[in-house]
Symmetry: C2
Subunit: 400 residues, 2 copies
């Protein structure tokens, strides 16, 4: 069966990929392993954080009203009633006319409502002169000011960043519930391919796309599973696909850059399920296949490395996000186009660009070349309705 | 010994941190583990890549001159002399007046110098009509066009990206020489701190900075080693520091947010080596310590989480890069300031900002609050010579 190449828009292709995504399971892991993982459930604060009003400066806990109008010429004079120790509750209240030494992070005692910075005080015996007024609440973090009890501190779908690690620690999460990283099987097809460790013979090239896909999967929250290189025949491909769908959550078929190979890929996917998309209005990357085999999402990538990489970003990334539940959408970088970009109306062009001083310069080159990928920093999307873009136009660059 | 807090500029502090960096060793690892690691040596292409001229389209290998002036009305007519198989050298040359079917990726035969796309051809028996002219080299990747033999394909100091994985595979690197990730010991000090799994008592808070530092180290190419919470006394801190410097390449001391704690940290570092910097003209983050203990770089971070995180980015990141040899400098994102930012002349302010539609909005809040970190996307640096910045000013945002 040869499938007709019915070209769909990028949006339709993404919708198809998202539709066949099977949400990942969840697992509980130690906080120390959580950085970079995707939160599978909202994290709520188990209590007010902090659990008490804290000073954010070294100085004196005071009743703010006592400092009204204080100046260097006319300082407020308060009786110092001791020193607050770190990590302990302070029993005795501070009364009007009194103050108490408080270190940064110390518990603000009852009665006090502000902290005066040590820099604006002078101690004379048991008296403290305060030369600047403080307002109620000044230099103090109120109880629950960071996170209130029961409030969502981090929402499900968030990719845990280093700063989130601090928040999770503060909220007492010594374990975290995250999405299980999807296993992504990678099959490279092509009679011209040899493994990375081999020396290519006449007409042969090493399998670059297998490693490209593995790196991409790892950076996008999945676990790559390599199935190596499969000869261009239906039986070999069907056997590899069967094994990959049995062991993995998603399968990437790479290459088959010629039309015959693409048809074979599509036929093989169709024989084990269905082909939903065969051809996307995207350049490079038009001959992409999206389908389902043995119930698993399968993406058939074009053979040219640059085309494959564009399709990984445009189609595989949303599929992976749909599986892991990640709500992160990569933030584009604003830039100004440095050179004109030609395009054809009716297809979405993904132009590789190099960024330099806020300008985006197109990296032209055949999509079979890896060096265009290395030289580029990301992609500029030329919308399907445009016939190209002019120098000086504002563009958004999706960083690789 | 109490050390005088002599405040230095951010540039001086970075230079001090880089000066005490000890370059990491190198190790050889399988390519499949290399994504995200730092290349420790230049990678050169062992041969021309590709090793032969390849077609980038499905079509016909031709002598370009035979197609000069070809059009739909007046196509060039060539004799088809067969079909090129993938992954094999093609022995027979193509002569003027001839063509041969070539799949994408096939070896361009001797004599042929271009490939005509199948879309602009028509086969009639053994003849092929070509309705568009092709120029010499058109639709062909020349031998060595991607990478020439002996040329540097990836330079030492590069953090290996997914697209670099493809390049390394093409260059035959089944192993890669990378920097050994530095072990970074993390010690949290403070009598008010309790571990993540504990419920804080009166006046106590959980140790957030330990996890913040661990996440940061992991995301910046190091291996965090947790030494837990140390009481605020010299003997405990000295013992922990001795253990950490014996086992790690770098030590981060976190907290001690009060002046007494900071002095104790500085004294303890000085007693095992030297304090190079005690105080940086940066806000937040002024009370930072940079020193060396038992020959290892030590950074004493401020206790406030947001301050600590700014210092990790401003000082610890360049130190880690100096150790691993990473030449990557984080690319700032251009934005327009959405609200005014006050600042004081003479110090470099790192303002947390939230990005929204290309505008950067300052996230104001006490540096003791974690929620200001979660709400922010990165930092805007207000140079030391400025007294603040106005809405509408162009700024560069360093993403967290």
């Amino acid at each position: 069966m040869s499938l007709f190449l019915h070209v769909v828009s990028v949006d339709e292709a993404v919708a198809a990929a998202e539709r066949i995504a099977v949400p990942a399971g969840r697992e509980e892991i130690p906080l120390s392993d959580a950085c970079g993982r995707i939160l599978a459930a909202d994290v709520r604060s188990p209590a007010d954080i902090p659990g008490f009003a804290r000073s954010v400066v070294d100085g004196y806990a005071v009743v703010a009203a006592d400092t009204t109008g204080a100046s260097e010429a006319m300082p407020a004079m308060l009786a110092c009633t001791g020193r607050i120790a770190m990590g302990r509750a302070e029993g005795r209240p501070v009364r009007p006319g009194e103050c108490r030494y408080i270190p940064t992070g110390g518990v603000l005692p009852a009665g006090a409502d502000a902290a005066a910075m040590i820099e604006y005080t002078e101690r004379i015996g048991t008296e403290v002169l305060i030369s600047r007024p403080v307002a109620p609440g000044e230099n103090v973090i109120a109880r629950g000011e960071d996170f209130a009890e029961g409030g969502v501190v981090l929402a499900a779908g968030r990719r845990i960043t280093p700063r989130d690690m601090g928040v999770l620690a503060a909220a007492g999460c010594d374990t975290v519930t995250v999405a299980v990283p999807p296993k992504v099987g990678i099959i490279s097809t092509g009679n011209e391919l040899v493994p990375v460790g081999a020396v290519p013979g006449p007409g042969q090239v090493r399998d670059a796309n297998g490693s490209l896909c593995a790196g991409f999967v790892r950076m996008h929250g999945g676990t790559p599973v390599a199935y190596g290189i499969v000869r261009d025949d239906r039986a070999s491909l069907a056997a590899a696909l069967e094994r990959a769908t049995a062991e993995c959550d998603i399968v990437l078929l790479s290459g088959g850059s010629s039309k015959d190979d693409r048809d074979m890929c599509a036929d093989t996917v169709a024989s084990r399920g269905e082909v939903l998309v065969h051809g996307i209005a995207i350049a490079p990357g038009k001959p992409t296949i999206i389908g389902r085999a043995d119930g698993r999402p399968v993406i058939g990538l074009p053979g040219h490395p640059a085309s494959a990489f564009v399709v990984l970003h445009a189609i595989a990334a949303p599929l992976l996000r749909a599986v892991t539940g990640e709500r992160h959408v990569p933030r584009p970088v604003s830039a100004v186009l440095g050179e004109p970009v030609p395009s054809a109306r009716g297809r979405q062009d993904y132009v590789r660009v190099r960024l330099e001083d806020g300008k985006a310069f197109p990296v032209f080159g055949k999509s079979g070349l890896l060096n265009t990928l290395v030289q580029s920093d990301g992609l500029v999307v030329v919308p399907a309705g445009r016939e190209g873009m002019e120098p000086g136009e504002a563009v958004e660059v999706l960083l690789w």
